[in-house]
Symmetry: D2
Subunit: 325 residues, 4 copies
């Protein structure tokens, strides 16, 4: 499954893990401002905000997993199997195929507030990019430096939720994820006090006991609590290296190690890649399961007024630096 | 606090995290075979196995935190505050100051079996390297490719325990850490079965639910369970990059993010460095909190018959690779 | 707060705990068939099923907390503060004041199926019995020997849920309570298997380890899981004493001991009474916090064709039997 | 397995649950002062303190499970399988067969302090009462109104521990049980504060959330924590009925319901009986799985200067009081 998070120091950072048992061949993809964005039920957009993010590019169309636009708005789609329900094409609505949703939002919204308004007019449809490419069942996090929202399309239609912790995983639906945080309110980054009994002299035999009770498994509900705790307590310097480094530490708390989540087919789910986008500056950082070094693609080093997608393959080979070479 | 682990693929890997609120200025340090190892109560060793590891070097003496020797034996000292008790100098014993213990073992033992025998003759003393340098309260993991042992010196003297999971953290004493694993025996890397009731149709709404109950906090007891689970389920390729990468994923499961463990002085404990030594080949890999890229020092690229310590500072600056430079 | 449960052996049993910091002076109350039941917005019922249950009787009106009728249908109201929302009087609906709901259902429904149908026509209103008596915020369990349902009136109107485990506590809403059971599916009444690692020889050092992870606190979510587990695993003889005794054991698993749940006013919530009604035979059994002995009131020993409420005070004095008197 | 607890109001109370899958036919048994107590390796005691407790009487000898003497000292033996090790007969020690231990202590010690001293001279042997009656593997709680101690005989000999919470269950050894309480120090009888994040508005959606994390299963380690929490928070009146009633509530928190702990042979462990002795007044109260009413045997209603055991069978039939008889 996956985990997304936001983080704010001097700049605004937005990223996610993609957890799965295999990769579809995703690439860091810049969509410049004049790439003609076609939509199934809506007019083509010939001028729009430039976008950078991770996408599987199919027939020259960027099927984005997560991305930010040049205005600093980020959006990511995460698995929501068993809960996501998309609708039929409906008149009076802006019908958007689910695979178009990230482009549709990021191409025209400057911030979460605008995204929220636009979403109010949208009907998400299950239209496929092509017949052989069934759409994933997804929900989304959309965030700018000021706020984050969660978007879920279920049996009761499209719902938009304020996302106060600025994190998202998968099932159950977002309101339940938020509700369960109540059960962890006593968790602290400081040592616990002895409230059990003043008749016992209990001791904090280790540092870090204030968060005893924090779940450590890889299920989506447990990752939600853990990444929320880690993100909300995270402290770092304001500089770029500090901020980016800290972001990867935050998502590191929910990373999936090969072997710990075995699927029915005997395969293992792993964190295929982790991304951290400086949404303010348009720099997409990532690591992969097999390459811990942070790699960066800076959208402003590309010609953003172009018409063609700009694509970089993920560098997946471990970059070990030999110090006594 | 800290966590140590072992891992075996084609080669044998041994490493640890060092978690603390500040660094003493440790360096990757190679002790060549003819460096004269002096001991307070025992004859100097002028010929011995070469050693590579992380050490704070004080007056040209390598105060090792963790190291392996050229025979593939690894040893690491981890905090054991409140439980470690060292003895007085005793006749009839080989009196070894606690700061000499790693050099004393690694300079002469080829494997864990030899270390175990040697430890039977040893008395660990609290003698300080110098007056202003109080000894840490430690316990140790010693491991070769075949087995791992834990060494604890407490009120009842020196105890040596078989360490079946091949991991170590801090308090409580090792037998208690092992005992508590019983409470987690039902945790699995596969999905759980519904044993709650056949009258309810419960569902696995997320992957990874088999390990629900695994603790996720940073206390030493919880890290012990989590790293044991992660290590024992870890699967990777046999190649060097795969093995080393997987090792860092294993220790990543117990990494400490700045902000999540606040100390009384307002400082934060973090994972200062993580090491992974290919004990078979004598290559010391490490990452630091601020530098995710793996850096390596290969002892066999040094003149191992020398007499002088060879030291490399930790590279702590984030090495970000710009892909569209 | 409170907990309700159902249990089936030869007969059908239905009961609940009432947990609170003080009592309103409730009595075991039999409403005979010809007691004229008045309703605020609906015609008086002069002939109806006889009912037995616990009620606070106000101005000769039985404000039932839990009751069963002579057809074997049981119904109990439990606190649902923060979630219960009652409506306004609405035309085209059978408007029922919340305090009338138990009488309205039990006076005319033979089973849960009929209750479900009737509820489809009902609008629950917040009309007070009298000005000084604000209504409790409640949700309900309705059950016969074949099925149990949960009824919740919230912001989205009246919802009826199949209640497969046959238990109810308080917050959060029933669908969330049911959902969280997924997180406990691996809990068993049998000893766990070692799924943690075949490289460790873990042991079941105590009986009863299969349910490790079952929550033991008194919050409504934890009581829901615990009573569900206990009820669904409960085994007893079919006889009346065995069945009734077992029922009190089931609800004993969520009993509140004075001191363990302290309120802001310094008072303590306790289990004021526990009831177990043999719904098949119309016998209302109860115990109180201060009287462990089971006391019974048998409705069929009363003249059920009467017109007057028949009331028995709760016997609250501990009945200790001196064996060597 | 079993659970023992102490409780102090005006008087001192001492009791236990006996959890097992079948009963050996135990009886409430008074040993008067002049009953000749024979011991295998020590002189017969012809004058001693009178004792009341639960015993299996074999060949006119009271094999006590739990008892108090007329001085107000209580003692109970609880299963300690896998850890209890008894010794060989040793010269220079007062050799006491394990089945004689409760009589030996209670017949001559006025308080826990005296018991502690006496235990310093004792060697517990595995001598059987008769060949066909293997001794249980036990450890003990001994308590007076001032203090409680735990006695364990293991591979390292007899150990006596201060028992601050005044409770005992079974495995693991007492020091580990006490140590694990550290992991629950943050549990409270009051509502938790939000320490998770001041950026989230978390709510206490139910009363009783301060003890979230308290284990609810029936394993001995979980029962230890739960009964300690319940006992240490328990509040009651000082009167006899209040105190006794509260005591049964305390042990009710760890009661075993039939069906929840299934053994390999398909049988179920249940709480066969629960006792609460007013140690100050010598009144033995008990309930059984099938009889919730409290039954009492008052030792001071017996001729305590007698020479014959006085025995009362457990009253196991449910005593239901019909209120409208």
């Amino acid at each position: 499954m996956c985990t997304a998070a936001t983080y704010r120091t001097k700049d605004f950072y937005f990223g996610r893990t993609l957890d799965y048992e295999f990769s579809y061949g995703e690439e860091i993809t810049v969509t410049p401002r004049n790439y003609p964005f076609s939509f199934r039920y809506l007019p083509e957009k010939r001028k729009h905000y430039a976008i950078i993010g991770m996408a599987h590019v199919e027939e020259d169309y960027p099927l984005y997993y997560d991305a930010v636009n040049e205005k600093g708005l980020g959006m990511a789609g995460l698995n929501f199997v068993g809960n996501a329900v998309y609708g039929e094409v409906r008149e009076g609505k802006e019908n958007v195929a689910v695979f178009e949703l990230i482009p549709y939002i990021l191409s025209q919204c400057e911030n979460a507030e605008e995204a929220r308004e636009l979403l109010g007019k949208i009907q998400i449809t299950d239209t496929r990019f092509k017949e052989q490419l069934p759409n994933g069942r997804l929900h989304w996090i959309i965030a700018d430096e000021k706020e984050a929202i969660t978007v879920e399309s279920g049996t009761e239609g499209l719902k938009i939720y304020e996302n106060a912790p600025g994190v998202l995983t998968n099932n159950p639906p977002f309101p339940m994820q938020m509700f369960q945080l109540n059960n962890y309110m006593q968790l602290s980054s400081r040592q616990p006090e002895n409230l059990f009994s003043d008749q016992l002299s209990l001791e904090t035999y280790s540092r870090g006991m204030g968060a005893l009770g924090l779940p450590g498994d890889l299920s989506s509900a447990s990752r939600f609590v853990r990444v929320a705790f880690t993100k909300l307590h995270a402290r770092s310097g304001e500089g770029e290296a500090d901020s980016v480094g800290q972001f990867f530490h935050i998502l590191g708390s929910v990373e999936q190690t090969r072997g710990c989540c075995e699927l029915e087919n005997g395969k293992y789910e792993i964190t295929i890649y982790t991304s951290c986008c400086n949404a303010t500056k348009g720099i997409y950082y990532y690591t992969t399961y097999t390459n811990r070094q942070i790699t960066a693609v800076d959208m402003h080093r590309e010609k953003l007024d172009g018409t063609e997608l700009i694509r970089y393959p993920m560098l997946e080979e471990e970059q070990i630096r030999l110090q006594n070479a």
